[in-house]
């Protein structure tokens, strides 16, 4: 049971096993690296199966219906049925589509999500230890943006291309608040390494920086392209946007990639703001740390699903206005205020610093609310029904033209 306290013993045991089989040390290292990469890539993909089921059930319950409950007990085998259906679908490639790019785009999209996982610290001493992890996360995020552009172009369909342009515009606009909000934990932990950020969270950063956590959360939901920001890829809008020409397994890769990305956002939020793998007993037993991280990430994913089931879609111009005119200035102000106050309170203990920053965040939030009210007064009033006026708007068909023969 010693591996419960030190998981690297598993790696040592595997190494001894491979050396015992007569492999050279260099080949053993290579084999262990490949095994580790396979495990890190396969684990989240298997977990996606459960996430798909959970999301469908949760959204269904929010919408006052049952969700899948025929295939297997409680519908637990539903994702397997989905995968079977998508696997057996005909793999259509549109005529005159760019074959190589058409084939590459789903792979790039899924790669952009899986590449986020090596930087995540999974427990004390296990998981990623990338020195510039925070910037690495941003870099990999841009890879998924690229995949969408390639997908929209290669389908040889001008609606797909238009949808791809708008999606990419949305994603690069929301990258700015994400980067600014990511800078706040870096500031508070004095390091870009995610392991150091987790180690510096004696007080969870969500207490010291709730506003950057909120900005990161909202902007990440938009970055992933989920409701309420999925105007550009929902089935009922612009005919499913950039992935209209994709069917079968290629669509399944986009689909699974989107769910995995949402869960990865939960994992990153947990690492950056909710203490990552820290919890009672996690220092002694790293496996427990992994469990805590999973729990926190799953709770955040539940909030994301909750948001999906609750809010209506945001229109494209409202979406872009929201990021450029509200989230980015707010993130800038919070970043500057946090930097100044952190320098002032650098000698205080963990809790006074956190509470001081909490107060600053609350003040900024209240000022932002007041500013929002003033802006709302200037906008056009919503069309609200007056008493006795029903329907609110009436469609009058145009007058029929006189027929030619009269």
């Amino acid at each position: 049971m010693a591996f419960l306290q030190d998981p690297t013993l598993i790696v040592e045991w595997l190494r001894q096993l491979l050396l015992g089989w007569g492999l050279s040390p260099a080949l053993t290292s290579l084999a262990l690296y490949v095994l580790g990469a396979l495990a890190l890539a396969t684990g989240p993909l298997l977990w996606v199966i459960f996430l798909i089921w959970f999301e469908r059930k949760a959204v269904a319950r929010i919408q006052d219906r049952l969700g899948p409950n025929r295939v297997g007990k409680y519908g637990l085998l539903q994702p397997f049925a989905d995968v079977l259906k998508l696997l057996t679908k005909e793999d259509i490639i549109p005529a005159k589509a760019d074959k190589f790019l058409y084939w590459m785009a789903p792979i790039l999209s899924l790669a952009g999500v899986l590449l986020l996982w090596p930087a995540v610290p999974l427990g004390k001493g296990i998981g990623g230890n990338v020195n510039v992890a925070v910037l690495y996360l941003v870099a990999v995020g841009t890879l998924s943006t690229f995949a969408i552009l390639v997908a929209g172009w290669s389908a040889n369909n001008k609606y797909a291309l238009l949808g791809a342009f708008r999606t990419v515009a949305q994603m690069i606009s929301y990258e700015v608040p994400i980067v600014l909000a990511l800078l706040v934990p870096v500031l508070l932990a004095r390091s870009m390494n995610l392991q150091d950020i987790v180690a510096a969270q004696d007080v969870w950063f969500v207490v010291a920086a709730p506003l950057p956590a909120l900005i990161f959360f909202i902007a990440s939901i938009a970055e992933v392209g989920r409701t309420p920001f999925d105007l550009l890829e929902a089935e009922s809008e612009i005919i499913a946007g950039f992935h209209i020409e994709y069917s079968g397994m290629k669509f399944a890769m986009f689909f699974a990639g989107e769910f995995l990305h949402a869960f990865t956002v939960g994992v990153l939020g947990a690492v950056l703001f909710f203490g990552g793998w820290r919890g009672p007993g996690a220092e002694a037993y790293p496996i427990l740390g992994l469990f805590y991280l999973w729990l926190k990430a799953f709770l955040l994913y539940f909030v994301i699903v909750w948001v999906r089931g609750t809010f209506p879609r945001v229109r494209i111009d409202h979406l872009l206005d929201f990021t450029w005119k509200f989230l980015t200035p707010l993130a800038l102000v919070v970043l500057m205020a946090t930097a100044v106050l952190d320098k002032a309170l650098v000698r205080a203990g963990a809790w006074p610093r956190a509470l001081g920053l909490l107060v600053v965040n609350a003040v900024i939030w209240l000022l932002a609310q007041r500013w929002l009210r003033k802006v709302e007064k200037r906008l056009e009033p919503p069309m609200v029904a007056q008493p006795g006026q029903y329907p609110v708007a009436r469609y009058t068909p145009p007058e029929p033209q006189a027929a030619e023969g009269d």
């Binding site: 260099a26 005159k96 760019d98 190589f100 790019l101 020195n131 510039v132 910037l135 690495y136 941003v138 870099a139 990999v140 995020g141 841009t142 890879l143 943006t145 690229f146 552009l149 390639v150 172009w153 040889n156 369909n157 001008k158 291309l161 342009f165 990419v168 690069i172 990258e175 870009m192």
Partner: protein, 176 residues
């Protein structure tokens, strides 16, 4: 041994992708070749232990500049239209100039023989990124180039917005 293998692989992939970027008629494929070259450069930066710059390369070049280039290719083209030949008829002279330049530089490098002339390279300090950050805002350091670069970016931002916007305003007036 592993670093040599990675370097050779990256160099080969990078150069082949660069050739695709300048030789292909299909400009979207050429842009993809550019993206692979940019990733290859990032790998070279990692081999040189400039980790921050490697990730910054991916964020700035692949994440912004390459997307911008692909956007403008897609915006100035009808979907499904033929590309046509994209190379000038005077390409042999271009090949001559480029070839001469490359041969000249390679001969200079060989003549200098840096591997024999220079002492062995020192190690990179572990906190290089922190030192870079400190140097960029240090008044005795490089704060002036940093600020000048920021002003340059601001000017480019305003200029690009104005150029792209001014065109639309002129269009609206001619349509009236």
């Amino acid at each position: 041994m592993v670093t040599t293998f990675v370097f050779l692989l990256t160099a080969v992939v990078m150069l082949v992708a660069a050739l695709i970027a300048v030789l292909k008629d299909n400009l979207v494929h050429a842009a993809m070749g550019l993206v692979v070259t940019l990733f290859g450069t990032a790998v070279l930066f990692v081999l040189m232990e400039a980790y921050f710059l490697a990730v910054a390369q991916v964020v700035i070049y692949v994440g912004a500049i390459a997307i911008l280039i692909v956007f403008s290719i897609m915006l100035t083209r009808r979907v499904g239209a033929a590309w046509g030949a994209q190379t000038n008829p005077t390409w042999p002279f271009a090949l001559l100039v480029a070839g001469l330049l490359t041969v000249l530089v390679t001969r200079m490098v060989r003549a200098w023989a840096p591997d024999q002339v220079l002492p062995a390279a020192a190690a990179v300090p572990a906190d290089m990124t922190a030192r870079l950050g400190a140097a960029l805002v240090d008044p005795n350091g490089y704060v002036v180039p940093f600020e000048v670069a920021s002003v340059l970016l601001l000017a480019a931002l305003i200029g690009a917005v104005y150029v792209a916007w001014g065109g639309r305003k002129a269009e609206k007036e001619t349509h009236k």
